[in-house]
Amino acid sequence: MGMVWHQKFPNPPIEEALLDIRANLPAHIDLALLETFQNSLKESFPNRKPLFHWEGGMEIKEGVASVLAPKGGTMGYQFMSGNGKKVIQARKNGFSFHILKPYDSWESLRDQAKQLWAHYLEIAHPINVNRVALRYINRIEIPLPFKEFKEYLLIIPELPPEIPIGVSEFFMRLVMPDTEKNLAAIVTEVLQKIDEKKGILPIILDIDTFQESVLAAEGAELWAKLEELRNFKNMIFFKSITEKTEELFK
């Protein structure tokens, strides 16, 4: 993967871009400390809500149903900008930064995330990082009419020509590990409903790239790894679309 895949579009199809860093925190880091993450950021991120995680279930054994004891609880906090377009999660297992459209640039996302991660380091003192991820949710509005999905998208379900009918819905999830570089991608594609007013068929192309390995919480290696994920994500994106699709973003 020696090539570098970068192209900036004036009208990118990005609905949301998120950067996620999972970390191991010292035992003494509790929710009260995570809550203080907002203190110096209240002007930019005035809104806060807790993040919950619950697991529960039931078991049927010898014809008798019983409810398993639920486990979980508050795992951190979500802080939102006034207009809801930027979101930070400060959690017991790490940190994430989300930007909703309009998307500016990778440099803007990365630099803001770096500052916020530095703030998370001051509050949570992570021992190390165990996973990094970069996920871009793209919404590609394909103009109608068109004959073949392949005019715009190259990762699509294939039907044999002997099945002479088209597709009105699909949900496709591909997990693609690159075991040589210890990276992986989860690509999710969903066909949305035709918008007759706009004359478009929207397709979601969700590309999540990640690596699970231990990294130092501070230092350049973490950010170098995110640059590598960005390149990997871009390669998948640009190889999944056609020149006709790129014209939609210009």
């Binding site: 006034g82 207009n83 693609m176």
Partner: protein, 137 residues
């Protein structure tokens, strides 16, 4: 499409009965799918439109703004807080309606001048401009 190189080194549940593989795959897929904030908000979208439709259908032909605003569905929309603001503004843009009390209650602001009160279309324009200035549109 080809299988991944060294796929056996990736996680898998090949030793589990097929139904367990499907169960864990489905649960993990669902968890992963809803990580993005924009997807989490889809459930807020559904909640808002369910309440908005209920309010419109149940409020009757009354012209009393107070009666419209104390309708339980309208109150629940106010209870959604700031997440409802872009959805309300989107509704205002489609068709001016008595959303102004909700917008004021949630935002704590009121950009409408006294001389414009009662002029629904004008009030809608003022709130939509407010929404653009605040970055909600």
């Amino acid at each position: 499409m080809k299988p991944a190189k060294n796929a056996e080194k990736s996680y898998h549940w090949q030793d589990d009965p097929p139904i367990i593989t499907i169960y864990f795959n489905r649960a993990e897929m669902e968890r992963h799918f809803f990580i993005p904030i924009s997807r989490e908000r889809a459930s807020e979208y559904r909640k808002f439109y369910s309440l908005a439709n209920r309010w419109k259908n149940e409020r009757g032909p009354t012209s009393s703004i107070t009666e419209m605003a104390i309708h339980p569905a309208y109150q629940e929309i106010i209870g959604m807080g700031k997440e409802a603001i872009p959805l309300i503004l989107s509704e205002l843009e489609k068709s001016p309606d008595h959303w102004f009390w909700a917008l004021s209650a949630i935002s704590g602001e009121d950009p409408v001048k006294p001389e414009d009160r009662g002029r629904i279309k004008k009030m809608a324009e003022v709130w939509l401009e407010w929404g653009r200035e605040k970055g909600y549109r």
